[in-house]
C-alpha cells in the first residue's frame, strides 16, 4: 500500500512539474516577447504570405512556423498573443476568486440572511446563459481587454461562491469549530483561522481551473471578434483567421490551437497537483 501511494504521488509529481514548466515558459515568453519573437507580429509582407512551417517543402527558414495569409509570422504572433492570454487569465481569475470565495465563505459559514441573499443571488445569476451574457455585456461597454476581464469576473464568480459555500458549510459543522467557539474565538476569527485553511486547497484548484477557463473565454471572444482590435495578436483571433484558410494553410490554425490546448490543460493539471501538495492528508 505504501508503495502504491508513492507511485500515485510520483505520477502526480510528473504531471505537476510538466504543467508548471509549460506555464513558466509561457510567463517568460510573455514577459520578454519583444526580445524572443523573431519578427514583428504586425509586419505584413504579402510576398511571403502562407509560407509553411520550416520542415515542409517550400518554407522560408526565417519564418519557423510559417506565415498567415497577410505574410505575418505565426510564431511571433503566438508569442505576443501569450501576453494577452496570460494577462487576462491571471487578472480575471484572481478577481473572480477573491469575490467568489469571499461571498461563498460568508454565506456558508454565517448562514442566516447572508446565506439567503447570496444563494438567491447566485441562483438568479446562473439562470442567465453565460455566453449570451458576456456578448451582451461587451456589446454594451465595448470590446477591449478590460471588458473581457469584467465579463469573466461578472459571470464566473458564482462558480467559486457555490463550491466554497458548500465546503465552508461542511467545515463549519465540524467539532473543531465548536471547540474554537468554546475557547472564546469570535466568528470572524474562526472563519480566518479554522475554516479558511481547510478551504484553501479547493480555492487553489478552482483558481487554476478558472485561469484555464479565462484563456478559453478570451479565445472565444476573440474568435467572434469581441476581444481587442483585430490587429493585436490573440490566440483566439489567430484561430478565427486560420479557420478561413484551413485548406491552404493549416498551420495558421493549428499552432495557436495547440498552444491554447496545452495551456488550458496545464492550468487544470497544475490545480490538481497543487491540491495534493496543499492537502495535509495526501501530502
Amino acid at each position: 500500500m505504501a508503495e502504491g501511494r508513492f507511485e500515485v504521488r510520483r505520477r502526480a509529481g510528473v504531471r505537476l512539474w510538466l504543467s508548471a514548466a509549460w506555464l513558466v515558459l509561457l510567463v517568460i515568453v510573455a514577459l520578454f516577447a519583444p526580445y524572443i519573437a523573431p519578427k514583428d507580429p504586425l509586419e505584413q509582407d504579402l510576398f511571403s504570405g502562407r509560407l509553411p512551417p520550416f520542415w515542409v517543402h517550400g518554407a522560408d527558414a526565417s519564418f519557423l512556423l510559417g506565415t498567415d495569409s497577410l505574410g505575418r509570422d505565426v510564431l511571433s504572433r503566438i508569442i505576443f498573443g501569450t501576453r494577452i492570454a496570460l494577462g487576462v487569465a491571471v487578472v480575471s481569475a484572481s478577481f473572480t476568486c477573491v469575490i467568489g470565495a469571499a461571498l461563498g465563505l460568508l454565506a456558508g459559514f454565517y448562514r442566516g440572511w447572508v446565506d439567503v441573499v447570496v444563494s438567491r443571488f447566485i441562483d438568479i445569476w446562473m439562470a442567465f446563459p453565460p455566453v449570451l451574457f458576456s456578448i451582451l455585456l461587451i456589446a454594451v461597454i465595448g470590446p477591449g481587454v478590460f471588458s473581457i476581464i469584467l465579463a469573466i469576473v461578472v459571470i464566473d464568480w458564482t462558480r467559486f461562491a457555490r463550491v466554497i459555500r458548500a465546503e465552508a458549510m461542511a467545515q463549519g459543522a465540524m467539532d473543531y469549530v465548536a471547540s474554537a467557539r468554546v475557547a472564546g474565538r469570535g466568528r470572524f476569527g474562526i472563519l480566518l483561522r479554522e475554516i479558511l485553511p481547510n478551504v484553501l486547497p479547493i480555492i487553489v484548484v478552482l483558481l487554476t481551473l478558472e485561469m484555464g477557463i479565462a484563456v478559453i473565454v478570451e479565445a472565444i471572444l476573440s474568435f467572434v471578434n469581441l476581444s481587442i482590435s483585430t490587429d493585436d495578436p490573440t490566440w483566439g483571433g489567430m484561430i478565427s483567421e486560420g479557420r478561413s484558410s484551413i485548406h491552404q494553410a493549416w498551420w495558421v490554425l493549428v499552432f495557436p490551437l495547440v498552444t491554447l490546448f496545452l495551456t488550458v490543460l496545464s492550468f487544470s493539471q497544475l490545480g490538481e497537483g497543487l491540491k495534493d501538495r496543499f492537502d495535509p492528508v495526501l501530502r
Binding site: Y176, A178, S179, R185, P280
Partner: protein, 282 residues
C-alpha cells in the same frame, strides 16, 4: 459552592417540539457529574447550551444558566463568549473531526492560549509540552509538529483532553468522550480523564449513555428522559437503589458480563409509558 447551576432550563427546536423541559442541575466546584439518558434525551444539548454552541435551529425558551454567579443567558454574546472561554472547555465526542485537519497539533493547542488568554508563545508551548506528557504521549515534541491525520483516534482524544485542560478551566464538559473509541482505548481514556480531573480539581459534566462509565468516574448523576431530569442522585445511592422506576429499568438493562445467560433486558414498555406520561404531563 456550586460553580454551574442550570435552573429550569427549557429549549425547543424552532417551530417544533420541546428538547429540554425544565431542566435543573448543579455542578459543584471540583465535582464530577454524570448526565445519562438514551439517544435523543437531550443530554448533549445541556452541555451545548452551557457552552453556547447550540445548533442554530435550537432556541432556549426559559430558565437560567448560572456560571460562577452570573446568568449566562442575560449576557451579550461577546461577553458570554469571553467568560465561557476563560473558565470552561469541551472534550468533544468525535476525535476525528474535533481537530482541524490542516493545522499542526502544537499550533491548535497553543494559539488559543496566546490569542485569547494573552500568554506568551513560549509559555504556551511549554504548557502544551507538559500537558502532552501528562496525557502519556511519548515524544510530545514530535507530536506537536504533526498533523491530526498522522495520529490514531486514541492519540487524538488524548490531545483533545490535554487541550481542554490547557487553560486550567474550572469546568469541562465531556460530551461522550469515549463513544467513538474502541473498548480497550476507552478504558485508558477514562482513567486519564479521571486522573487529570483529580489532579487539577476541575469540575466535570460528563455526558454519556454508559452507566458503567458513570460508576467509574462520577460522584453524582442526573438521569434524563425526553429532555426532563427524572432522577438526581449520588452515584453510590443510585447503583444501590435507584429512586425512579425508569432509572431502575435503565440499570437493569445494562448488560451483565458476570451472567451472560441473562441476555439483554430491554426497558419494559410499561415503564416507558409511565415515564413518558410523567414527562409530558407532570
Amino acid at each position: 459552592m456550586s460553580f454551574l447551576e442550570v435552573r429550569n432550563l427549557s429549549a425547543r427546536v424552532k417551530g417544533g417540539g420541546p428538547l429540554l423541559r425544565d431542566v435543573s442541575l448543579t455542578v459543584q466546584v471540583g465535582e464530577v457529574r454524570g448526565l445519562v439518558g438514551e439517544s435523543g434525551a437531550g443530554k448533549s444539548m445541556i452541555g451545548k447550551a452551557v457552552l453556547g454552541i447550540l445548533p442554530k435551529a435550537v432556541e432556549i425558551t426559559g430558565g437560567q444558566i448560572v456560571l460562577d454567579g452570573t446568568d449566562l443567558l442575560t449576557l451579550p454574546p461577546a461577553v458570554r463568549r469571553v467568560k465561557v472561554g476563560a473558565s470552561c472547555a469541551l472534550i468533544p465526542q468525535d476525535p476525528l473531526t474535533a481537530l482541524n485537519p490542516s493545522r499542526r497539533i502544537g499550533v491548535q493547542i497553543t494559539d488559543r492560549l496566546v490569542d485569547i488568554l494573552g500568554w506568551t508563545r513560549q509559555r504556551a508551548e511549554e504548557r502544551a509540552l507538559a500537558l502532552l506528557g501528562e496525557v502519556q504521549i511519548t515524544d510530545p515534541a514530535r507530536v506537536l509538529r504533526q498533523y491530526p491525520h498522522e495520529l490514531s483516534g486514541g492519540m487524538r482524544q488524548r490531545i483533545l483532553i490535554a487541550s481542554a485542560f490547557a487553560a486550567e478551566p474550572k469546568l469541562i464538559v465531556a460530551d461522550e468522550p469515549t463513544t467513538a473509541l474502541d473498548v480497550t482505548v476507552q478504558k485508558q481514556i477514562l482513567k486519564l480523564i479521571a486522573a487529570l480531573q483529580a489532579r487539577h480539581g476541575t469540575a466535570l459534566l460528563f455526558v454519556t449513555h454508559d452507566l458503567g462509565v458513570v460508576s467509574k468516574v462520577c460522584q453524582n448523576l442526573s438521569v434524563l428522559y425526553a429532555g426532563k431530569v427524572v432522577e438526581d442522585s449520588d452515584v453510590a445511592d443510585f447503583f444501590r437503589a435507584p429512586k425512579h422506576p425508569y432509572s431502575a429499568a435503565l440499570l437493569a438493562a445494562t448488560p451483565k458480563y458476570t451472567d451472560p445467560s441473562a441476555g439483554l433486558q430491554p426497558v419494559p414498555d410499561a415503564v416507558i409509558a409511565a415515564v413518558r406520561a410523567e414527562v409530558e404531563h407532570g
